[in-house]
């Protein structure tokens, strides 16, 4: 059952260089700018956005999730420019077992500046403090070394390699699974 109070009124999180705020329909062009980039989407489960309608559908889905108190991503806004540069947050949330999965995407122009690590730390802290999670997990394609690095920098531990677990863009893909437990989280 969704905890309607938290996600229906998703709080804005602030980090040193980013603001994590609920997504808006007006983010469509910013989303399209990176989600139409095949170098970005080669690492994601979702398909490359072909038209801006794909980005609008994505945003509409996020807003629908939030309206119903379901987990959805935050929009990452770069403080210095006010630009929306990516998204990230909780995907699935299993309340029975107090665990949730996180994911993120960032526009290529902003890669390797530590932004996703900064945002993910704030999201993990939110998960342990506000969602009372015991376990936060993440899955990424084995070739996605940048994402694995982000997860390690955020204190996650690798737990194994899941073979051919996802069929995406015409092929079976191997996934690495990572997690951090509440008991080992030191912000």
């Amino acid at each position: 059952m969704a905890n309607t109070s938290i996600f229906t009124d998703l709080p804005t999180l602030e980090t040193e260089r980013l603001i994590l705020r609920p997504p808006r329909m007006e983010d469509d062009e910013s989303v399209f700018a990176y989600a139409s980039d095949p170098v970005v989407s080669m690492h994601t489960v979702w398909e490359t956005h072909r038209t801006i309608d794909d980005s609008r559908s994505f945003l509409a889905m996020m807003l629908e999730f939030l309206k119903h108190g379901e987990p959805a991503s935050w929009a990452f806004v770069e403080r210095s420019t006010g630009r929306m540069i990516g998204t990230g947050g909780f995907g699935s949330w299993n309340q029975q077992h107090a665990r949730a999965e996180i994911g993120y995407t960032l526009g290529r122009s902003w890669w390797n500046m530590g932004y996703t690590t900064e945002a993910t730390r704030a999201i993990i802290a939110f998960g342990f403090s506000r969602l009372s999670l015991n376990r936060i997990e993440a899955y990424c394609f084995v070739e996605n070394h940048a994402s694995a690095r982000v997860l390690l920098k955020c204190g996650m531990q690798p737990e194994g390699l899941l073979r051919e677990r996802i069929h995406s863009k015409g092929a079976y893909r191997d996934l690495n699974v990572f997690s951090v437990l509440r008991s080992e989280w030191a912000p």
């Binding site: 059952m1 969704a2 889905m61 629908e64 999730f65 119903h68 108190g69 379901e70 987990p71 959805a72 699935s92 299993n94 029975q96 077992h97 107090a98 665990r99 015991n134 376990r135 997990e137 531990q157 737990e159 194994g160 390699l161 899941l162 073979r163 051919e164 677990r165 996802i166 069929h167 079976y172 699974v177 997690s179 437990l181 008991s183």
Partner: protein, 188 residues
């Protein structure tokens, strides 16, 4: 074959010593009384446990669960366990094979044969590419059966399930081992 073919009816599968047959409601209740709580919960697919919401409907639209088989001793007709394809992801051609047995030494061999039959059914009839099972860590009977049936240990998922049946106590967390077998690795 359409995916709904087995939503309500699953076939009987017969092995040397074991019979997999749709679990009678009476048997299910009886078995649930015998299984440890942890196994009972693992029997439940995550889909069953979660009420439907718009988001979970979206996520679960391509996910199905088959009804459980009872694992019967073919000769005595005695029920010794249960197994089930839960969380069959159509897009990814992957399914979870959830199982539990009553823990008696005799049921171990039956469980192993049952898993082999179910895996064969999954790869040939359901045309699944990957079959995975989640076993509580520290339970050699279930992890042994998974490995005996040809599955490979892929991950140790820490703190994956909560045991909240001891009311008043702090919740206990259990690690879960993830086993899987791929169609390409399956020897038939």
């Amino acid at each position: 074959m359409t995916t709904s073919d087995f939503q309500h009816d699953i076939p009987r599968l017969t092995g040397d010593a074991v019979l997999l047959a749709p679990l009678a409601e009476r048997d299910r209740r009886e078995l649930e009384g015998q299984l440890p709580e942890s196994s009972r919960r693992l029997l439940q697919s995550e889909n069953d446990a979660q009420p439907m919401s718009p988001a979970s409907f979206f996520v679960q639209a391509g996910i199905q669960s088959l009804p459980p088989w009872g694992i019967y001793n073919r000769h005595s007709a005695r029920l010794s366990g249960i197994c089930r394809f839960a969380a069959w992801h159509l897009q990814h051609r992957r399914a979870e094979l959830a199982f539990a047995a009553d823990g008696s030494p005799r049921s171990e061999g039956l469980l192993l044969e049952a898993l082999r039959l179910a895996i064969r059914f999954g790869f040939t009839t359901l045309e699944i590419n990957r079959i995975e099972s989640f076993c509580l860590a520290g339970n050699p009977a279930t992890s042994g059966a998974a490995q005996g049936a040809g599955m490979t240990r892929e991950a140790l998922l820490r703190g994956y399930v909560r045991d909240d049946d001891h009311s008043g106590n702090r919740p206990a967390w259990h690690d879960v081992q993830l086993f899987a077998i791929l169609r390409s690795q399956w020897s038939g």
